[in-house]
């Protein structure tokens, strides 16, 4: 069966190259049948990649260790769900998933727009063909998942930390996000290549961008929760280069989703939007380069492999291609109008964009810094958490504030008096909340207090908008269903506020202690009293599990166990943390007992109390809800688009 997988990938490569070459030729010469043929090649490329994916998935489920990839990432005791998740647990399989999603997305996007945007899709096909050609080439020539060997008795097994339900969903979510950014990029490039830089490419890709952005955002939150419950270092985001690699394109896509509204409304920022689309796409590929090249140290990295240089070359070539296109089409991308006032919604969006891009570039510099120092000084220097935390506060807090101000300002311009009158209620709520929080002791952390009060401001402005809108329409349901994009956006804003409160609460007001326990010994932290009860070891077919059992008193009464698991296949250790969520107090008690001595019964443990951390996970659900509202199909909008984009036949 490996031969079939290999053959399917070679066919996929051939089809992608054909889509690139025939698509370009047809678009340049204006040949209809050739364009249709190139389009069909893109569809077939998806079909062929799907066959390759089915071959690999079948081999994983059947534990067919004649496939080197299957033997390297699974073993016989691995449950079927985790065996399937090994599809993206290794380098080659995850690249195959990338190609599968890319060709699938591409085929669907082209099929949906081929009639209304015929001139545009003629150029979109070769762009997508070019991207798919690169990934198919890497899979065929550099990192094939269909390498074979004499079957060993058993496989090496999946890394223990990846044997977690979150790892079944988190990587595919990220891939759906990363790869989804290729679609707006391809349409933007198609618009520039065809010279049709009007708004049609934006209309065609609006939902694709939103979906990719939502997958990327939700995927990161899933990853954060996985880190929190599985990796066991007490946090959820470590500013790891690979985590940052997912954050950067998300920030660029967030900026694009806001600035594109200015283009739709005012015909401004066309160049800026092209730059943002290209930036989001390039950063998504750059993130893959980071993950796979081994140039940065990260717990998420795949083993060092030769594909890094191929990815770097692709990033360089596609960046040069994008910049050349933008420079070439500058005359077509000139704005028709100007910003009328610094006090307007478009100005607020512009400030928001500058802050988002500044934050994105700051993170990029933090990621690149070790590479730059290695290149120029011969030694690797890394940038630590304080750097990122500082810039997150410097750019994130004003962003939070703008999230509350933006929706309340009118387009074009607002007088200062009207602005003050509009903002009066949110400001009153903010001041009252700020004073109450300061009295409650939140003043111990100034950034935390600012984040809380700004969050109160944003929530107040969202509620005000909903109340005012409901007064006009008569019901919240009518209000939201008639303008899903605007009010779905507000729900997403509410999710970001919850996220901000959760991050501020757990980081600025969290408590932690490193403690040494002997049996019967107690320690107290933030009103919780922990007493070491016993130490034990249990054996499972794939691991030895060492646990320290604590009796907890104070705010909560019960037992909590924490320790380590030593796996046999592969022979790797893994932390098993003890977490107790107290919903009434809105905080987690988190115990990391990673040093348990079974002979002396001495336990070294780190105990943390993390207030409001669960708001981060709730934010994920609210974020999904908001994204679903904005993405929900709107029949009236579809009718309008068909009327608008259909060629005049009269």
């Amino acid at each position: 069966m490996a031969d079939l997988g290999r053959a399917a990938l070679v066919v996929s490569l051939g089809l992608s190259v054909y889509a690139l070459v025939a698509g370009t030729t047809s678009a340049v010469t204006g040949r209809r049948r050739l364009a249709a043929s190139a389009r069909n090649a893109l569809y077939c490329s998806f079909g062929s990649t799907l066959i390759a994916a089915i071959v690999l998935a079948t081999a994983l489920v059947r534990h067919d260790f004649t496939f080197s990839y299957v033997a390297a990432h699974t073993n016989r005791t691995l449950p079927t769900a985790y065996a399937l998740s090994a599809f993206w647990g290794g380098q080659e399989g995850s690249l195959l998933l990338w190609l599968l999603v890319l060709t699938g997305y591409g085929a669907l996007a082209v099929a949906l727009n081929r009639k209304l945007l015929r001139d545009l899709t003629a150029w979109v096909v070769p762009v997508l063909g070019g991207i798919a050609s690169f990934f198919a080439f890497v899979l065929v020539a550099v990192a094939s998942p269909f390498g074979t060997q004499t079957a060993p008795l058993d496989g090496a097994g999946l890394t223990p930390s990846l044997q977690n339900p979150y790892m079944v969903a988190h990587p595919p979510m990220l891939y759906l996000g990363y790869v989804g950014l290729s679609i707006p990029f391809a349409f933007a490039a198609g618009a520039m290549l065809s010279g049709r830089t009007d708004e049609r490419w934006i209309v065609a890709t609006r939902r694709w961008t939103l979906a990719a952005w939502a997958f990327l955002g939700f995927g990161q939150l899933l990853g954060a929760h996985w880190a929190y419950v599985e990796v066991g270092w007490g946090g959820y985001y470590a500013w790891d280069p690979v985590e940052n690699a997912a954050l950067m394109p998300w920030l660029a896509a967030t900026a694009f989703l806001h600035s594109v509204m200015i283009q739709e409304r005012k015909g401004m920022l066309k160049v800026w939007n092209m730059v943002l689309v290209a930036l989001a796409f390039e950063l998504s590929v750059f993130g893959t380069f980071l993950t796979r090249s081994g140039v940065v140290n990260s717990i998420h990295s795949f083993a060092k492999s030769p594909i890094g240089s191929w990815f770097l070359a692709f990033v360089v070539i596609s960046t040069v291609f994008s910049l050349t296109l933008i420079m070439w089409r500058l005359p077509l991308l000139k704005a028709k109008t100007k910003l009328e006032s610094a006090l307007s919604r478009e100005a607020a969006f512009l400030y928001n964009n500058l802050l988002l891009v500044a934050l994105c570039l700051t993170v990029l510099w933090g990621v690149l810094f070790p590479i730059v120092t290695q290149l120029f000084k011969g030694e690797t220097r890394t940038i630590g958490r304080p750097y990122y935390d500082f810039f997150l506060r410097a750019f994130g807090l004003p962003l939070l504030l703008l999230m509350g101000i933006g929706p309340l300002i009118a387009w074009r311009k607002t007088s200062a008096r009207a602005l003050v009158r509009t903002l009066a209620w949110p400001i009153v709520v903010t001041v009252v909340c700020g004073i109450a929080l300061a009295f409650a002791g939140a003043g111990s952390s100034k950034p935390g207090l600012i984040a809380y009060t700004f969050s109160a401001f944003v929530l107040a402005s969202i509620v005000l908008e909903l109340v005012r809108g409901t007064r006009v329409t008569g019901s919240v349901f009518t209000l939201v269903s008639r303008n899903r994009r605007r009010y779905g956006g507000y729900v997403v804003h509410a999710a970001i506020v919850l996220l901000a409160i959760g991050v501020a609460g757990s980081s600025a007001y969290g408590r932690s202690k490193e403690l040494r326990f002997t049996p019967g010994q107690s320690a107290t932290i933030s009103g919780y009293t922990l007493t070491l009860n016993s130490v034990r070891m249990t054996h499972t077919p794939n691991s030895n599990q060492t646990r320290a059992i604590f009796t907890v008193g104070g705010h909560w009464h019960g037992t909590l166990s924490s320790g380590t698991n030593q796996y046999f296949f592969p022979p790797e250790p893994s932390n098993a943390v003890g977490i107790k969520t107290d919903w009434l107090r809105a905080e987690d008690l988190y115990v990391i007992a990673d040093d348990v001595n079974l002979k002396t019964h001495v336990v070294y443990a780190k105990v943390l109390v993390k207030p409001l951390v669960n708001l981060i996970w709730i934010a994920g659900i609210v974020f999904l809800l908001g994204a679903a509202i904005t993405l929900w199909p709107d029949a009236r909008e579809q009718r309008r688009l068909v009327t608008r984009l259909a060629p005049a036949r009269a």
Binding site: D119, E465, R486
Partner: protein, 143 residues
């Protein structure tokens, strides 16, 4: 078995890719259906109209909701109505007199009959039509 599957896959792929040529081995018109200058112009005008209409609807909504004060509303509504009106006029002109004229180019109308002596030669100001949102839409604008 694998070889046979591979051959079938290759054959199907070749067939599908060649399908446009197999369907139409010879054709009179093999040109890609790209919009001409007039169509591009029409799309541009529609874009302008929709943009102005959406902005106008949002302005009305924000005014009714109380986000926008009366003074700001009065200041902003005029230019937006004018923008909608000029886009509609240009589209109407294209429909009536054929494509090819710019948005602000006056159409070549048949010569007016001489005005009666009491009206003099002063031109009558053209009324600015009210925008007409589609009936199936509420007054809520699309953001």
């Amino acid at each position: 078995m694998t070889l046979a599957l591979g051959i079938v896959l290759a054959a199907v792929v070749v067939l599908v890719v060649a399908l446009p040529f197999l369907r139409e081995p010879t054709t009179v018109d093999d040109r890609l259906d790209a919009p001409g200058e007039d169509e591009v112009r029409r799309l541009g005008l529609i874009e302008e109209r929709d943009r102005a209409l959406a902005a106008l609807k949002e302005l009305e909504f924000d005014h009714r909701a109380g986000t926008l004060g009366d003074r700001d509303y009065r200041e902003l509504v005029g230019p937006l109505r004018q923008a909608v009106a000029s886009a509609l006029r240009a589209l109407e002109r294209d429909r009536s007199y054929g494509l090819g004229m710019t948005a602000f180019e006056p159409p070549e109308l048949p010569p007016e009959p001489s005005p009666p002596p009491d009206e003099g030669t002063l031109p009558m100001p053209e009324p600015v039509p009210e925008p007409y949102p589609p009936p199936d839409e509420a007054t809520i604008p699309q953001e």
